[in-house]
């Protein structure tokens, strides 16, 4: 009945046997203990559970853990490296892009994908790209500001030292 899966989560490899019906979000939260990924609606509407699956933003309540077999998964816990906040985290903090914080991990993971696809989004593009991530606290204004700021900084830091193209760095 159980099925073996191997996944790489935030750089660490894991092998588990799971029920075929186990949702990826429950695998992350309950099996791996990565509770930074939240469940807001369990029906793919709110985006609180957004993680990256092989670099693409997915709603992890809409993916079975077995579907993620062999994949690389990134969650909010993997955003900061060596205690250094990711520019997206920095920008959300500075721009007051969160209040209760429940939707925030999902919004930030969606932002990683958004900025990788389009390092220079307009505010309108940011709003369009994040329409699948609901937030009940902020009215989105400071989320948009945070994404804009993060994008600017990621471009600057990608361009500055070694001339690495922003696109390559984002990936």
């Amino acid at each position: 009945m159980r099925q073996a899966i191997h996944v790489t989560v935030n750089g660490a490899e894991h092998g588990y046997e799971v029920e075929p019906r186990l949702l990826l979000v429950h695998f992350l939260r309950d099996v791996l203990g990565l509770t930074g990924t939240h469940i807001g609606c369990d029906t793919g509407q709110c985006g609180a559970c957004t993680v990256l699956l092989d670099g693409r933003a997915v709603k992890s309540c809409m993916v079975l853990a077995v579907q993620a077999d062999g994949a690389k998964i990134s969650t909010v816990e993997g955003l900061a490296t060596k205690g250094e906040l990711h520019p997206i985290q920095q920008a959300f903090w500075e721009k007051h892009g969160l209040q209760c914080g429940f939707c925030t991990p999902g919004v930030m993971m969606a932002t990683v994908c958004l900025l990788a696809d389009n390092p220079t989004p307009t505010d309108e593009q940011i709003r369009e790209q994040l329409e699948g991530n609901l937030c009940r606290c902020t009215g989105y204004q400071n989320i948009v500001a945070a994404v804009r700021t993060a994008g600017e900084r990621m471009r600057a830091s990608a361009a500055a030292p070694a001339g690495v193209p922003a696109q390559a760095r984002a990936e």
Binding site: G36, C41, E77, L79, L85, C100, C137, G139
Partner: protein
């Protein structure tokens, strides 16, 4: 030890690092050894008798630990209490059981609970519970529920009337008899679903040795949760600990204690193992409280010159199937007292009928009663302006309480603390260039373009509140707050508050208050909330009271700390106490600044107590129990500018300007954020949101998409302007900002759309103003007038 000024600066939030790294602790993140999981079977019918309930198949399922029904808990869990009992209101409180005994009264009413070794097994087992229902007639709308022959919900509430409550002032009948002009409007405040992003849940743990219950709970007010849990479970209050550290939004929906919370506690004790219950979103839609849902008949009396002389309101408030914890207070005291708004209306009368229907219980949702009041009066002012052919700005100015009149005792007997309504209106008008907009509107109308300008000049009552007033209003509790400020030997401080911020940022603003007062770096201050074992008491976070009341308690405790520290400094510096000067964490002797002790020096000495002045107790810790002397009254002016496409009915918000005066501002960034979020919810009500029941009592807008929780493309940029008129009623001049945006915004949007469509003869619209509804309203108006005002003129 230079400390920059903290009060008034946009300090980055101290709660954020754990929230942005995924290290927060929301209730669903709690995992205890041996933890079991509970799921609740909810009624699929809005009104039915349970004729058979067989749990045997579910019980036999591997992994199922227990199945409970209403009969199993009968006598073991008391009914859910109602904690707001307005006096002189003939309120009926029918029993609200955690699980129905024989009759279900709304879709989502609890029927049984399953506890299992995993959440998946628990949810599976719900399908194995066999229930036969005998369906009963259903009524979901309040005016239908009070009509003769309507289905009855409760034996002891004839006509489904939960209460009739009145408030009045002056002589409203004379005002209407003598009125030169009267405008009337039926207003529907549609039902809203709070939709905090985190659904509700509880993890309960029973310690049989100590006889103690620990509940991790998604609560805005853990001490109230402790008290109510004691009443329902019978466990003594001092044997219950409630922890609510990180809470994912509440907006009022996490004030009440719910059946699910109590069932979790019950199961944990019965099974002697930890039990977790977390709602699904679908469950949240039907089983967590809803908000608003009024039908109002409103009449405004005035003279031809625009002087408003009287206001008469009849409101039918849908309370749902049972009384939620604070439900009766919302459409009564929190609504009726504020219907006259920021105007000198000497005569008013409010009649409120609370009505039971076969719907989810209704309770406080952001603003709670005050949005219903502000919408009503602001809408009526615009209707009067239309009737008198006056500019709505001029009409408002004519009736404003003047800034010299404060403190102003309104006809409601509330005493408004401070205000300057012309000033905030001026700023808003200037920001949008009102005159230019009116010119553009006139030009546009000739070309079939419909620009609308919507005003909302609002005032709200918040900072709840004096405990004596709470008692007078029938609130079954106090509204004071305690605070403790403790400075440790290392100079680090702990600040304890009985409020429970859950997104509003008070871990930061409270640290700013204490840092400013004691000259401590903000990173050395830890604000502790959300744990009844650590905090003596508290009434929680709602009613925009956290900073105004909780923050006042904190500053007064901090002042005591500074006072003691100053005396200790005088002793150590061998100076007279009156010669000690304090500046940014340094106590020095007047005239000789080099003779000084830092607050850290003092903290160390106070904690080791080697050299204390005679009679001074060791330690550097002070508490203050603060009971406000009055409510506070934030105010402001919001202007919404819309373009309405008359062909499609689409409303486009071109600009939204919010001028808000919430008293003195501690952290401008946080204040603006509160306004953004509040306005977004108000716009949500105006344009998108609404709970809709079908005839059978099914909630057909039962998901975030069907209901339309606004997304990032649906909320415009909000331009915020802050003004600061201190409140004289508390030590820091604070008022509160958690609800202003919601209270002010809905009517600004509706007024804007009505203004845009005035050429069609449209002066009022129902909410939400979806394109379809706007289009239909326009088409109806065209049919009625028999004209098509493509180039209407005015």
């Amino acid at each position: 030890m230079a400390v920059t000024r903290l009060f008034g600066s946009s300090v980055k939030r101290r709660e954020d690092p754990r929230l942005i790294t995924g290290r927060a602790m929301y209730t669903d993140d709690v995992k205890l050894p041996g933890m079991a999981y509970m799921a609740i079977l909810r009624s699929p019918y809005a009104h039915a008798r349970i004729t058979r309930l067989d749990t045997s198949r579910a019980s036999k399922q591997p992994g199922v630990l227990a199945v409970y029904t209403g009969k199993d808990i009968d006598g073991k869990l008391n009914p859910m209490p109602c904690a707001w009992l307005p006096k002189d209101s003939d309120l009926k409180v029918p029993p609200y059981r955690a699980l129905a005994l024989d009759t279900v009264r709304f879709t989502g009413d609890g029927v049984a609970a399953v506890v299992a070794t995993s959440a998946y097994i628990a949810h599976d087992a719900l399908d194995l519970i066999d229930v036969d229902y005998e369906q009963l007639p259903v009524v979901t709308e309040q005016t239908a529920a009070v009509a003769a022959g309507a289905p009855q919900l409760h034996e002891d509430a004839p006509g489904n009337q939960a209460m009739h409550w009145r408030l009045g002032g002056g002589d409203v009948d004379s005002a209407f008899r003598d009125a030169e002009v009267v405008v009337r409007q039926r207003i529907v405040q549609q039902r809203l679903v709070p939709n905090a992003m985190e659904t509700r849940g509880t993890v309960a743990q029973w310690d049989p040795g100590m006889g103690e219950l620990t509940m991790y709970n998604t609560s805005q007010n853990p001490h109230i949760a402790r008290f109510i849990s004691s009443v329902v479970t019978g466990i003594p209050e001092n044997k219950i600990r409630v922890i609510a550290r990180d809470v994912g939004g509440g907006f009022g929906s996490k004030i009440p204690v719910y059946p699910g919370d109590m069932l979790t506690a019950f199961a944990a004790r019965e099974l002697d193992r930890p039990v977790k219950w977390v709602e699904t979103r679908r469950e949240n839609f039907v089983a967590t409280i809803h908000g608003r849902d009024h039908v109002q008949e409103v009449e405004l009396a005035a003279r031809k010159d625009g002087t408003v002389t009287g206001l008469r309101v009849k409101a039918w408030a849908n309370l749902g199937a049972y009384l939620s914890m604070a439900a009766p207070g919302v459409p009564t005291w929190l609504f009726g007292t504020m219907v006259t708004g920021c105007y000198t209306i000497p005569n008013f009368a409010v009649d409120v009928f609370g009505v039971f229907t076969n719907t989810t219980p209704v309770d406080a949702y952001r603003g709670a009663g005050r949005p219903e009041a502000a919408f009503l009066i602001e809408r009526m002012m615009d209707l009067l302006a239309v009737e008198l052919k006056m500019d709505p700005v001029d009409l408002r100015r004519k009736n404003f309480i003047s800034k010299d009149a404060f403190p102003y005792t309104a006809a409601s007997t509330l005493q408004y603390d401070s205000g300057d309504y012309d000033m905030t209106l001026d700023k808003a008008l200037e920001a949008v260039d009102y005159k230019a907009l009116r010119r553009e509107q006139e030009e546009g109308r000739k070309q079939g373009r419909y620009l609308g300008i919507g005003l909302s000049t609002y005032v709200e009552v918040c900072g709840l509140g004096p405990s004596a007033a709470a008692g007078a209003m029938g609130f079954q509790g106090g509204l004071w707050e305690p605070a403790t400020v403790r400075v440790l030997a290392t100079g680090k401080a702990l600040v304890y508050t009985g409020t429970n911020p859950h997104g509003q940022g008070e871990e930061t603003t409270f640290a700013q208050i204490v840092g400013e007062e004691l000259g401590l770096p903000i990173e050395d201050i830890e604000v502790i909330h959300g744990d009844t074992a650590q905090i003596s008491m508290g009434w929680g976070t709602y009613g925009s009271r956290t900073t105004a009341v909780g923050g006042s308690a904190i500053i007064l405790a901090a002042r005591k700390v500074r006072d003691k520290a100053s005396k200790l400094a005088a002793h150590l510096l061998e100076a007279a106490p009156e010669d000690i000067v304090f500046d940014q964490g340094r106590f020095s002797v007047k005239g000789s600044p080099a003779r000084a002790k830092t607050i850290q020096d003092i903290a160390l000495m106070a904690n080791v107590a080697w050299d204390m002045p005679e009679g001074m107790a060791p330690g550097l810790e002070e508490s203050h129990f603060y009971d406000p002397v009055n409510f506070t009254f934030p105010f402001g002016a919001h202007i919404c500018v819309v373009d309405v496409d008359a062909d499609t009915g689409e409303v486009h918000i071109r600009r939204y300007v919010a001028v808000d005066d919430c008293g003195l501002v501690i952290n401008p960034m946080i204040v603006d954020g509160q306004v953004h979020g509040g306005v977004a919810q108000g716009i949500g009500q105006a344009l998108y949101e609404g709970a809709i029941y079908d005839e059978g009592g099914q909630l057909i807008t039962g998901s975030m998409m069907d209901y339309t929780v606004p997304n990032s493309t649906q909320i415009p940029t909000i331009e915020t302007i802050r003004t600061e008129t201190p409140s004289p009623v508390n030590p820091l001049g604070l008022k509160g900002v958690g609800e202003t945006g919601t209270i002010a915004s809905t009517e600004a949007v509706v007024n804007a759309v009505a203004d845009a469509l005035a050429p069609f003869g449209i002066h009022h619209l129902e909410m939400p103003m979806t394109p379809e509804r706007v289009w239909r309203t326009i088409e109806d108006a065209k049919r009625q007038s028999g004209t098509t005002p493509a180039t209407p003129g005015r």
